[in-house]
């Protein structure tokens, strides 16, 4: 068992034990009332969570909108707008029974027509992530009655139920959006959902304010009277605001890492370590460049770069050193035999030898392109530069504004090395395959290393559609064997996030994602 999964069990166990205990001893401790202040970093581009994957809209949207299910910390789907569901034998037909008596914030009834509308018109066309999935699955949606929805998929897709969350598939009202341009609908600024909180006001640049939905379907919930999403653009200032009590909740995405230790030690603050969604940070190498064309050269870099230092200094310890091609965020698929720790322990003299072998001239200069808005890339770049100098390579740091970086790296492929991070989005097939699959499109956020290996493409293709976990694990292990040897991309670390909250808040982290399930949060006064 990896260190990390152990930690999660431990944490989950604690939280569960805690709630059970509370539930058993004193139910009335869950008091009504209070306003919680949650931090976001900038104005959301829209409040319609069905057409964006932005963090802020997701955060706010999770309180306004609901999916058919929510996912608990053990990745188990739990009933939300759907009370129950069945899966056909071939795993291609999903039937959901909808909750009765659910009303939209404007008082209209929620029905299966809303689900079909949301899928057909919003998610499949406008949701940046879900639409890619749906394009492959091409579901046919039937609504036999107001409370039943049937999805018929073209392909099997193991995580299908798990994407029915308020983040991946939030339900929006048909009666508001039908017949309009969904992207331009004014309801995107004054959203209507079914969730525990209702939209109240949006002061641009300052805050979005939600108030309790008194007509929420789950009686007695939510506990809080209001939620305020305060905008604080700068990381350290967000930490400060939590310390001074100006805000109550800091989602891991918005946490300034160097502050975590101090904040966690503060007895007015509680912390929860652990990421909802695995994500890897990596160094992609341009195999089209002569100096990086050979695997020996790339292995030399893997041997010369200090991944522990990256974790300690670039991430302030909030990461696990790179394990292999897919990190170790999905413990079931890791290939211990091919692990970086075994293959590429830090060894500058061996790296030099490998470089000689690859006929890379000493003092070759490599351009390292990155987005300077990400602090860990600034620091990481400096560390890599220092590491590679030890083995006789010069690194020229090229910080580029995000959109310019995208153009340089993904469109023009004008780089030697680049620092990037990809999120798994819950499954390696969604988020990680794109790092390695042969890619000729030059679209952004895909494999830009120029690496192309038919064997890898085949293995990953099978892994994406294989229905059972054991098969998938075997395919992934095999792929790792190849990829960890070829290292077109060196995974530097797996992110470990930490949510931070005021101790006044109780009942947090009921869902796998800290932004979810705020209907259960209550405030000590």
């Amino acid at each position: 068992m990896t260190h990390r999964s152990f930690l999660r069990r431990l944490l989950t166990g604690t939280v569960l034990a805690g709630t059970t205990l509370l539930a058993a001893t004193n139910l009335s401790a869950q008091t009504r009332g209070g306003t919680a202040v949650i931090v976001i970093d900038s104005d959301p581009e829209t409040l319609n969570a069905a057409i964006t994957t932005g963090n802020a809209p997701g955060d706010i949207g999770a309180k306004l909108f609901e999916g058919l299910v929510w996912v608990d910390p053990d990745y188990k789907p739990q009933p939300s707008l759907a009370t129950q569901w069945t899966v056909s034998q071939d795993q291609k037909t999903y039937t959901f029974t909808l909750r009765r008596g659910v009303k939209w914030h404007d008082g209209r009834d929620f029905s299966s027509a809303d689900v079909k509308f949301t899928y057909d018109e919003a998610l499949a066309k406008l949701h940046p992530r879900t639409q890619t999935t749906l394009r492959r699955l091409a579901p046919e949606i039937e609504t036999p009655d107001a409370n039943t929805v049937v999805f018929k998929l073209k392909e099997t897709y193991a995580p299908f139920i798990n994407i029915q969350t308020p983040f991946e598939a939030p339900m929006i009202p048909r009666h508001v959006y039908a017949g309009s341009d969904i992207k331009a609908n004014t309801a995107n600024e004054k959203p209507i959902g079914t969730g525990p909180f209702k939209f109240a006001e949006w002061n641009r640049g300052q805050a979005v304010r939600l108030v309790r939905n008194d007509a929420y379907w789950e009686a007695g919930k939510p506990y809080l009277d209001a939620l305020v999403f305060q905008i604080i653009p700068q990381g350290p200032n967000r930490s400060t605001a939590l310390e001074t009590g100006e805000v109550d909740f800091l989602y891991q995405f918005y946490v300034s890492r160097p502050d975590v230790k101090r904040l966690a030690d503060n007895n007015r603050i509680q912390a929860k370590r652990g990421s909802a969604t695995p994500a890897v940070y990596f160094l992609m190498m341009n195999t089209a460049r002569p100096a990086l064309a050979t695997k020996e050269a790339r292995q030399a870099l893997a041997t010369a770069i200090n991944r522990d230092l990256q974790v300690a200094q670039a991430m302030d310890g909030h990461a696990r050193p790179g394990y292999g091609a897919f990190g170790d965020g999905f413990p079931w698929l890791v290939n211990a035999d091919a692990a970086y720790a075994k293959k590429y322990p830090l060894d500058p003299s061996k790296a030099k030898a490998l470089l000689d072998q690859a006929k890379v001239a000493p003092n070759t200069t490599l351009n390292l392109v990155f987005d300077p808005a990400r602090p860990m890339f600034n620091a990481g770049g400096q560390i890599i530069r220092d590491n590679l100098r030890q083995v006789g390579l010069n690194v020229n740091l090229v910080p580029l504004e995000r959109s310019v970086m995208i153009q340089k790296v993904f469109t023009e492929r004008d780089f030697d090395l680049t620092l990037q991070s990809f999120s798994s989005s819950g499954d390696p097939s969604i988020g990680y395959h794109r790092i390695y699959l042969t890619n000729e499109t030059r679209a952004q956020f895909l494999n830009a290393s120029g690496y192309s290996n038919k064997a890898v493409d085949d293995l990953l293709g099978q892994a994406a559609t294989a229905a059972d976990q054991a098969t998938r694990a075997r395919l992934y292990r095999e792929a790792q064997g190849i990829l960890n040897e070829d290292v077109p991309t060196l995974v530097l670390y797996d992110e470990v996030g930490t949510d931070l909250a005021s101790r006044k808040l109780n009942g947090l982290w009921k869902g796998v994602d800290g932004r979810d399930r705020w209907s259960e949060v209550w405030m000590t006064r």
């Binding site: 890492r257 300690a312 200094q313 302030d316 300077p372 600034n378 400096q382 220092d386 740091l397 090229v398």
Partner: protein, 285 residues
């Protein structure tokens, strides 16, 4: 007119020296320039060489000012950073002054439509939000020190141009200029040899203030992460320090102080020069 005349050097020097601020400022500038030149000698370690000993506080063994989040020696960074800050400040200001002087002299001397056009251009550049444009431009051209210098110079010349133009206009019909004209001097000779030496005072003053402004602007760009990460600069150090403000105040305080002191020195010098060169503010004749 005599207001624009620069008094002979010795008296300027003595007037400057009588101002306590000026002496301090010149000393501070001299020290920072020396530090920048002697950086390799003064630095204790390679400023880029990292170690696991990160975030050591000041007065740690081997690290008088402590280390940063990558375990690099702050003192060595500070010393090398002086090079970038001063080079950017001085070169940018010098370029701005050169451009401004040329444009101002041409506009003022030639007059007419050309003057109008050039001054509109100057006005135009002054209306543009400088810092914002600098950010956009640096983001576009990439953040190298040379680009920073060019951008600051291009955005800073109008002030000098206006002053030079005003001086040239006052002087172009001055009796001694007309005498030179009657004496058969060419226009270029008149501008360069008769007029410009007499408008040096405001040029020197704005030049000095421009250095201060350029250092601040560079620091601002660095703070926004638009500095050149392949060099150590004080602004860049502040940018890195942002994240560690609460953990390692020294990462922010030392470069912040360094910027303040050097900028202050150039501002004080400009102010003192202004006083010393402005005859209307002088003591009784």
């Amino acid at each position: 007119m005599t207001g624009l005349a620069l008094a002979p050097r010795n008296t300027l020097w003595s007037r400057l020296r009588r101002r306590p601020g000026a002496t301090l400022a010149m000393a501070a500038i001299a020290i920072s320039v020396l530090v920048a030149i002697a950086a390799p000698l003064l630095a204790l370690r390679d400023p880029f060489s990292g170690s696991a000993a990160s975030l050591l506080p000041p007065l740690s063994p081997g690290h008088p000012l402590g280390t940063d989040h990558l375990g690099r020696d702050l003192w060595s960074q500070l010393v090398y950073g002086a090079r970038v800050s001063l080079a950017v400040g001085i070169l940018a200001a010098a370029s701005a002054v050169l451009i401004g002087t040329a444009i101002g002299a041409i506009a003022g001397y030639v007059g007419g439509v050309l003057d109008n056009a050039l001054m509109r251009l100057a006005e135009f550049f002054q209306t543009l939000p400088r810092f914002v444009l600098a950010i956009v431009t640096i983001a576009f051209f990439g953040s190298s020190v040379l680009h920073v210098i060019i951008v600051i110079a291009i955005l800073s010349w109008p002030q000098t141009a206006r002053l030079v133009r005003a001086g040239v206009i006052t002087l172009r019909s001055a009796a001694f200029v007309e005498a030179a004209r009657l004496g058969g001097k060419s226009d270029t000779a008149i501008v360069v040899r008769e007029i410009l030496p007499n408008v040096i005072a405001p040029i020197v003053v704005t030049g000095s203030l421009d250095v201060a402004a350029a250092i601040l602007l560079e620091a601002g760009l660095g703070f926004f992460g638009l500095g050149d990460p392949n060099l150590v600069s004080w602004g860049g150090m502040l940018n890195q320090a942002q994240q560690y403000l609460r953990q390692a105040w020294w990462m922010s305080v030392f470069p912040g102080l360094a910027i303040t002191v050097v900028v202050l020195a150039f501002n004080l010098l400009g102010d003192a020069l202004n006083d010393a060169l402005n005859p209307r503010l002088r003591d009784a004749p």
